[in-house]
């Protein structure tokens, strides 16, 4: 009988887990992050509040699992596969990926959870460290690899640290996305790539 109960219970757990993660994303869209609560997630998922607290310490932790489970990644990098495109034309490749990142940052399905998790991570160092390690660093590493390849091909200056170069293109886009200072457009992505590649000084 134990043999039979175990898979049933495991299937039930997986169903509850899935219902909780779906409820967290749905309610985030309906209520906004400040008004999202573990109670509301439990009610929507049809489970007890204690079921959630058995698996996650906070609403932010539920949301992080919901977000990473969905396989969405920032900066549009994963959209382009396991590595950034390398056609040999660094400018075209970066514009392609950053325009995709702009589309993603402007899409509520990405914007809402990624923005909420970023906000929480700013004032909750433990959650912030998980968010950066799981969501942010993987695509930043893909960018760094593409820039290192361009450096090996003699296109990027030898004395440039690929990681600094990555942040030079991703930092400005993240700044506009998070702080909503000015519209985040394809034109802006192009302008950032062009000025990062050639610099702002007159030649």
């Amino acid at each position: 009988m134990a043999d039979k109960a175990a898979p049933d219970s495991s299937r039930r757990s997986e169903r509850s887990r899935r219902a909780i993660l779906d409820a967290a994303l749905e309610l985030l869209g309906e209520l906004g992050y400040p008004r999202l609560t573990v109670e509301a997630i439990a009610a929507r998922a049809g489970v007890g509040k204690q079921t959630i607290y058995r698996w996650w310490p906070s609403k932010a932790a539920v949301l992080l699992d919901a977000f990473t489970d969905r396989g969405t990644s920032p900066e549009g990098a994963e959209r382009a596969g396991a590595a950034l495109p390398d056609t040999g034309d660094l400018e075209a490749d970066l514009k392609l990926v950053l325009r995709a990142a702009v589309d993603q940052m402007n899409a509520p399905a990405y914007d809402l959870p990624a923005r909420a998790l970023t906000a929480e991570g700013l004032v909750n160092p433990e959650l912030g460290a998980h968010f950066v390690a799981q969501v942010l660093e993987p695509p930043l590493r893909l960018f760094a690899e593409r820039l290192r390849a361009a450096q090996d091909a003699g296109q990027v200056a030898r004395d440039i640290d690929p990681r600094v170069a990555v942040e030079l293109v991703c930092g400005p886009l993240t700044h506009r996305w998070l702080l909503r200072t000015l519209p985040l457009t394809h034109e802006y992505a192009d302008a950032v790539v062009e000025s990062a590649l050639r610099g702002i000084l007159k030649r």
Copy 2:
């Protein structure tokens, strides 16, 4: 008698207001933003909770006033006065200001309230708009003026939008500061300025 009561009441109000703003900053350091409450601020300031809600809608609004009252501004710009330094050497001037910004971002007295207000603004668009307009945009405009002066002096390329150039130097620093991806140092500020000015491409 009304003539006499008015200034007393106004002095009392100002004393309460000051006590509330001081309490908000003190408690932020002691409790962290997630555990900061209007109740705790009221208790520390020796006022009723309703006194706070008469003047501010939320703990974030109290904190924004406390922060802007103190005259602190981001990006180190105000430290350098009403305009950015202009010695004629754009690279040296930018490094000076950005190193000061790094010191400021690493100092708890700036980091704690600015980080909390940024986090709140990400998921609370009304507060976010106030924070950006009051705290973030003024120094960004000073940077843009300095870059426009360099453009007029023939140092910055004609086809560069000064605002894009500002974000190219400030975006990467803000990214490291907020997301704590890697250490935010003077060396990093220098590397960002150098690569933004000359570009990452091999010449």
